[in-house]
């Protein structure tokens, strides 16, 4: 790799919510509360919805990137928990870290642009990444100061909408099998069910249905978040890996936050890339690299997580 190709990149993203987003910070009773951060504004302290950099990093980059490598290298079903944790969650120190194996780090950085980008923790050493992830900042008046510092160009002069207008509610119910007790074992109930016209029995006599109502807050459909990635002194391969991950995340549904199983958190992302950046060329180069180093990459992964001789399990 020539040093001529080393440069820094800033990728800005605008993500518009296409469905209610439930990136939660906790629960109050049976109501979930969305993730907020305190922001000091000219009008005092305000609580503003935010997407954590941790969630963005995992869902947009690490997870799709790891899934791609596993698929491309045909590793499904062949990895240990430690290897999976390393690829999907960054790994954990499980051995003494008094010595660092520079050769192993160098090999990893040469073989895995994705891991060079994100870093990770091998059993005995922590490897820094080269990508800083910006938090998801809601485009709202309370965040004007922060956005005007982060964003290229200028914000509109007119006031932005206040954060409170982007927060909504949802409510769902979770059913109870008592409502469909036709399928219960008769001896357990001690009665003989008499199906109604629709083939079901409404209630077990003397028992109440425990239909559960659960509710929470959402960030409304049509809200806009700014987030982004800062890549410090990286090669085009890392930039290609980043764009490739974002593309795969987008193709797989582009969701952030919880409850995507019921349609929450769908995003439409747009990118603002640095000058001279060709996404097609960068991603193609990354894919070509992944394929070119297949054997060495799999060997490295197995070697880095091999059980050392004499080590107790």
């Amino acid at each position: 790799m020539s040093n001529d190709n080393i440069r820094s990149y800033i990728v800005h993203c605008l993500s518009e919510t296409l469905s209610p987003m439930t990136h939660m910070m906790g629960v109050a009773g049976n109501e979930s509360i969305i993730n907020r951060e305190k922001v000091m504004t000219p009008h005092g302290l305000r609580e503003v919805p935010v997407i954590s950099g941790n969630a963005i990093r995992h869902r947009m980059i690490r997870e799709p990137g790891a899934m791609y490598l596993i698929g491309r290298y045909n590793l499904a079903g062949k990895l240990s928990i430690d290897q999976l944790n390393f690829l999907f969650n960054g790994g954990a120190l499980t051995e003494s870290s008094t010595t660092e194996d520079m050769r192993r780090i160098a090999n990893m950085q040469q073989l895995f642009p994705l891991l060079r980008l994100l870093g990770g923790t091998l059993p005995n050493q922590i490897i820094a990444g080269s990508c800083d992830v910006m938090r998801g900042t809601l485009v709202c008046e309370e965040n004007r100061t922060a956005l005007s510092q982060i964003l290229p160009g200028s914000l509109p002069e007119a006031a932005l909408r206040p954060a409170a207008e982007f927060v909504g509610q949802y409510q769902y119910t979770r059913g109870d099998a008592r409502r469909r007790d036709f399928f219960l074992r008769v001896e357990e109930r001690g009665i003989v069910p008499v199906p109604a016209a629709d083939g079901f029995v409404d209630d077990v006599p003397g028992e109440k249905s425990n239909l559960m109502i659960y509710a929470g807050q959402t960030v409304l459909t049509g809200s806009l978040f700014h987030h982004g990635f800062v890549l410090e002194n990286v090669s085009p391969l890392e930039m290609g890996a980043l764009l490739h991950c974002i593309e795969r995340w987008d193709a797989k549904g582009a969701t952030l936050g919880g409850q995507s199983r019921i349609g929450h958190g769908k995003l439409a992302v747009s990118l603002l890339l640095p000058d001279g950046c060709s996404p097609a060329e960068l991603t193609a180069a990354y894919i070509a690299h992944v394929d070119a180093v297949r054997e060495q990459a799999v060997d490295w992964l197995n070697d880095a997580f091999s059980v050392r001789a004499g080590r107790k399990k």
Partner: protein, 148 residues
Amino acid sequence: MSIPVLSPEEFRQKLAGYADPTRTIPPEDLAQILQAAVRFVSILASLFGGDLDRLKIWDRIGTGLVVAVTKAGGDFDTFVNCCLAHIKSDPGKVASSAPLAELLAQLESQPAEWRTQFLRLVESRHYLILVKARARWISYRDKVLEAL
């Protein structure tokens, strides 16, 4: 690449779409809008349907505000209609209500942003508006206030 890549100008325009022209309403106008909302709700009390339980008049008006603002989807006329329907107002009384006609005329003469802000206040502060509207209604009932 399947993801849209924006130019700096497109990026700026996307942000501009999140500006809110109604925010140019000065604070003194906001106080007026709140006052109009309070007046509207106190007028609703005078048009409360005879078929409903008068002991629950403020419960019913309160739920009416929430339901109407949701159903209206930002349309002021629909909001007014839904409120009146929810409290089962008598059409004859509605048609002959001078305070209502006067308030509607006043609101219609204001810019669209004004009415949007009206609905926003009802949505975000309906409890506060109920408290003030009830106090206003009692003042009127006790002849402290001459007209609604």
